[in-house]
Symmetry: C2
Subunit: 147 residues, 2 copies
């Protein structure tokens, strides 16, 4: 009997991808919870901080989520004073998402924690190996023939 009886599942690249992501996501969730954030709300906050004035629709596209699922998320960030919905001159349908000072500060602190998290979970890999990993992964998701 082997120590890890996966019956050959680990021969598949996708299996290894899934197991690695599972480890990473579990640790990331733990790290971000200390900031009152989930992975998706951290991503949303970071995009808003780095793209001030973005609309909810454009943010949903950037995050590859449905715009309907952004509403409560933004409600939460706005309710905590991290971002504001402000009117867009010339288009009264849109709300420009503006980061508040507290949102910028939280995004910066959380980003430092996320970087420490990545240093930890990818600590078995050298910096060169991490760059190689990113390069290989990006070529998979950015492969020609995909939107």
């Amino acid at each position: 009997m082997t120590e890890n009886p996966d019956a050959g599942l680990s021969q598949f690249i996708g299996y290894n991808l899934k197991r690695a992501l599972s480890v990473v996501q579990a640790d990331l969730a733990h790290v971000l919870a200390a900031f009152g954030l989930r992975a998706v709300s951290y991503s949303a906050l970071l995009v808003i901080v780095r793209t001030p004035g973005i609309s909810q629709s454009d943010l949903a596209d950037a995050l590859r989520i449905e715009k309907s699922n952004l509403v409560q998320l933004i409600d939460d960030l706005a309710g905590r004073g991290l971002v504001t919905r402000s009117p867009v001159p010339g288009d009264r349908r849109r709300h420009a998402l503006i980061p508040a000072e507290a949102g910028i500060a939280l995004a910066e602190a959380a980003t430092r924690a996320v970087q420490a998290h990545e240093d930890k979970v990818f600590g078995a890999l050298s910096l060169v190996e991490r760059a190689t990993l990113v390069h290989l992964l990006r070529r998979v998701w950015a492969m020609p023939g995909r939107a």
Copy 2:
């Protein structure tokens, strides 16, 4: 304005992991649907074929899912004549999961399709690069300090 406005999210290894897995899972789901299988039921069937007589508890451990969530899955495989639950002499609590001929045949056909799927979705990478990717990923999930 850049073409992919991710606001720097792609600097994170985890982001690239998630996007790559998302692409892989979407294609895998489509491929396996032709066999009436989901990713988890394919994995279960493959483990049963390669580990005849395994119990549901041990299978759940191997797949890293809850045993309660295996019941309906095995009901489905058994109902389709792919596997059978057979009594274990000496322990009447356990059911040995035995692959039927049809299950072995389906697992073999599905495995060929999954290999073709991996050749397709990882087609941007050479064989050496795919081996490198697997090696890097395995070191992440098998990193010392994790169960």
